[in-house]
Symmetry: C2
Subunit: 233 residues, 2 copies
Amino acid sequence: MITSTLIFRQLFEARSSTYTYIIGCAATRKAAIIDPVLETVERDAKLISQLDLDLQLGLNTHVHADHVTGTAALAKIFPSMRSCLSDESGAKADRLLAHREKVKVGRLEMQCRHTPGHTNGCSSYVLDSEGLVFTGDALLFRGCGRTDFQQGDASRLYDSVWNEILSLPDNFSIFPGHDYNGHMSSSVREEKKFNPRLTLEKKKFIELMNNLKLDYPKQIDRALLANMKNGEM
Amino acid sequence: MITSTLIFRQLFEARSSTYTYIIGCAATRKAAIIDPVLETVERDAKLISQLDLDLQLGLNTHVHADHVTGTAALAKIFPSMRSCLSDESGAKADRLLAHREKVKVGRLEMQCRHTPGHTNGCSSYVLDSEGLVFTGDALLFRGCGRTDFQQGDASRLYDSVWNEILSLPDNFSIFPGHDYNGHMSSSVREEKKFNPRLTLEKKKFIELMNNLKLDYPKQIDRALLANMKNGEM
């Protein structure tokens, strides 16, 4: 989508069902990328160049367990790009962001909100002027990230989502880190009303999350090792 | 995305890599769906209901050869929905649209532009007020639909794309019928500059399109038979 202030693209990496986002300031051509995937760095770099954008920030919503981040590879192509991660992640990045810290993308301003629970170092990024929030794995379309490994904590996740994401205005669009059924976005209004997990009482949510019995993520060993070092292999 | 006038959703059907779109008028809650797929009708109907939208139109960009349209199944769930198709398609629909005919979605207005070449009955839908165009298989991200079966005609496709789509303002967003590499949208500016096929001279484009040597579409026999009758099986 293109508005007078924003250049916006959502991209999909099929193997890990990951969404990557490009956010560009229409006035200055400065840009950020959220959650790039190593395997699609070439595709994303080409698009950024064709959109005539100057990539400044590579934001990871957390230390991913299901794919290797593309931030290290992108920094080689765009030397002025700085990788960013929550300062509670315990991992390496050019810039470690505190809760509610703001980052500039040209004239646009994004706020990092810590939303731990899926991992310790999860954060969401709020683009207030455009009514958008990028939630990583904290909040998914009618779902949320798992909490059964990698410092997962269902109680913390519940509080994060309600206090930092669903407290935003109803008409804010939610852009998640993944989807497995072809949904690409949601809104605060919808998730407050229809999210089958988050609409439960906290106690029931914790009980549900602690009994999901999910498979061990396929790429976790390779991914975590690399992502703790900003995606360097 | 949500604006003061528009409720907009893009959805993906993985087997045929098809994009489906929901376009709602924020003021009246009237809505249209573009290119629904039979296999994901339940998903789409649920979302339309949760968004509190009243589905009025089921627009097909053409008689698809790679999937069965969901319009017949949606009409059973939303009895006031009317299916629409180009009047050059030779197929059945509740409403057959002429070139440049307009359809209302609440206070929004979409224009049907015939863009034949992939098939005789291809059309694109332009939502002028929001700067969006839905191009079906006429124009894809850095590509276009094939022209080697189903009344395909490379010369007609070239003219359709240049005269009816790439003549729109540069900042119009293009939402295609498919993508196979995780791209979800493009813009007129980009395709005019970077589309490797459409930036060729017409003669070279025709030569290229006539020598693609593509496989026969897997679902074509089942799909065409159903789609000529508005998706009734």
